[in-house]
Symmetry: C2
Subunit: 401 residues, 2 copies
């Protein structure tokens, strides 16, 4: 029997307990050992809940118990999670976490400790919820050099954009609806400003490229400026607006960014709607691949955490995780990244705009007679910004995939 | 340095050599060892090709060489692949194969030998080409009880159906085009009759459910009877026809089948077009997930084979593969499977048909005034067939997902 402890009995923590109970028999069979939850750490008590007898309020009880071999950290946030996780690893306990803030900030250090101790620091649930992506990147795509990872990594924003697109609603109205349905937090900033997706793409890029991508260096733009009018144009062009978190290797330069993009139906991410997430990966021999599923939610996230627990139990004294180095990966300025741009302008500016953006396509929607839009040729971010500034009066601009 | 040998220098075999050369540095780093191809077995010679110096015509050279630790089998077909693979495993050499016929027919026996010898028998490339699915099923989805796997597992048929759908062409014409483009074999039977997909779903089902699914017991129907007229109706209903290979667990009954199905755009497989493959998986806690990518082709398939080689090299004396038992999984007759059915009938039969299929929806397309179609309510295969026979004159019928 392998004793484990769960830090945090919130949404994901209670999901982990539920999944371990529901699929107990098959999980133990796959792990090759009986897995038993000995403690659950939480500040609260849960009288009447069978979990109450396992609740402890003091992390030391867990960290000092030599019987505990695997610690599940599902508290979220950097502290005190970081302190507890580091102490657990130093005490020779493997750690499985869903905590993207922790992994994005301290991943290389915690991986290094796990490697020194011949144990595991696993974080499948930190990116893409239930979607298997960390393990496939590490152990399936090993024949490839990955040159692109582009994901829809945040379910809240994808729900909002999908609903804006299908129902023609404004951002604020859909956000309110999403908050009422529990798909968005009362403080939605981390989701709608792209911060959540930014941490996730930092983790995925670090794994794919082998060196540490600092999430604070990733250019990040949220969806708060996307309007119902932008969506009218998108629908007219048979395109969708998606918040993409993307990193690319182009001629030994690395680019990473989070921003809304327009894409057409030839891209596999086009049809990823609602709260679903998906991660598109391009390898130099594999070509295109995509991983799709529930990016959040109690049980899908718990499914990924428990899969990590199974892996940790199967490899109690052996590090399975491919490493990513603490050496910093230098990101190139996105100024040099080349792409096409969509921009809306007052109709009186059209001929001036066409002179500045030769070869661009004009898009009109009947509902907005006073304005029009252009889709530019391929150009650098820098060149686009300079021209747009020179033109003036730009109503909005969105990048194209 | 780890010495390996490649059995077969055809499309996939030459791809394996190419991938190992192209990404040599990163592959060796991930494997933790330098991987060297010592021999390539082929009946032919390749004068002028650098591979010539490694070509051997006698499998014994490889099987008797104690230096060879990993054998790549990419010959295809059951024999002599089976004999060579079994001898390699018995000699303590791990085997990585892309050979679905071999795995579907002898998987449990070969896995058992690998386990006894503490080596590995790996077959990521046997299902879904470059798409990572075997390893995710085995090591990522371990918290779940899988209750459905449904895949578009054959690129040839998906290419044909996509082209029929977009261009309104007949099956025979598209098949001819596909043969000219190299997307279909000159003898296309294994693809268009569903035999290829059948072997792949047998392997995936055996892994997901833990017991051996005999591919010969899987109900298999190809796409040769799908016509341009069927596609007219599908387009009218905003649906797509896809050849699906599917297995489900419903109330402890297991169902497996390969057949064309109609699906609408709410299903993640709907937008998988052309030669791409995708595998949809439903777990009891994960919910829906999907894995998408190139299901065939030289380099994508080689990418999966080489990823297996990396895994085999990382685990030279340790079996990593979850096992599937040789105990036979009893499949229930699809007679009892319940679903909706699309059926085309002469328009004169409509009222009779509506009496037999109460609650069904009527579909008409302008191009076919003499006929009409019904979409039935949910009913068993058996009940449908009985009613359709009683009605008589059915022009075609397609299942709905």
């Amino acid at each position: 029997m392998v004793q484990i402890a769960v830090l945090g009995y919130g949404t994901v923590g209670s999901g982990v307990v539920e999944v371990l109970n529901t699929n107990q028999e098959s999980i133990n069979k796959k792990a090759g050992e009986e897995i038993n939850i000995k403690y659950v750490l939480d500040l609260r008590d849960f009288p009447g809940d069978p979990i109450q007898e396992k609740i402890v309020h003091d992390a030391d009880v867990i960290l000092n118990d030599k019987e505990i071999r695997v610690v599940v950290e599902v508290m979220g946030g950097v502290e005190p999670a970081y302190t507890f996780v580091k102490r657990a690893l130093l005490a020779g306990k493997s750690v499985c976490t869903s905590n993207k803030e922790l992994v994005a900030k301290h991943g290389p250090e915690l991986l290094e400790i796990a490697r020194e101790k011949n144990i595991n620091f696993l974080f499948e649930a930190s990116c893409g919820g239930g979607i298997p992506i960390i393990r496939p990147l590490n152990s399936s795509l090993t024949a490839d050099e990955i040159d692109e990872i582009t994901g829809i990594l945040n379910g809240t924003t994808n729900y909002i954009l999908t609903k804006m697109s299908k129902e023609g609603l404004e951002f604020d109205d859909v956000l309110k609806d999403a908050q009422e349905k529990g798909y968005a937090e009362r403080n939605p900033e981390a989701d709608v400003e792209g911060y959540d997706a930014c941490r996730k793409i930092a983790i995925l890029s670090s794994l794919a490229f082998g060196n540490n991508v600092d999430f604070e260096e990733i250019y990040t733009e949220g969806i708060t400026r996307i309007t119902a009018q932008d969506i009218l144009y998108a629908n007219e062009m048979h395109m969708a607006v998606k918040l993409l978190a993307s990193s690319r290797k182009v001629n030994d330069q690395f680019y990473a960014m989070v921003a809304p993009f327009l894409m057409d139906d030839s891209h596999p991410l086009y049809s990823v709607n609602g709260v679903f997430n998906a991660i598109f990966v391009h390898g130099n021999v594999l070509g295109d691949a995509m991983f799709y599923g529930s990016g959040a939610g109690k049980l899908p996230t718990a499914s990924a955490v428990v899969a990590d627990v199974v892996d940790a139990v199967k490899h109690l004294n052996r590090t399975v995780m491919t490493f990513w180095s603490s050496r910093k990966l230098s990101l190139s300025s996105i100024e040099n990244a080349e792409r096409r741009f969509f921009l809306r302008i007052p109709v009186v500016k059209l001929s001036e705009a066409q002179a500045l953006f030769p070869g661009s396509e004009v898009v009109r929607v009947a509902e907005l007679p006073e304005e029009c839009a252009l889709v530019s040729d391929q150009m650098s971010e820098k060149a686009f910004e300079e021209k747009a500034q020179k033109l003036g009066g730009v109503i909005s601009r969105i990048r194209l995939v």
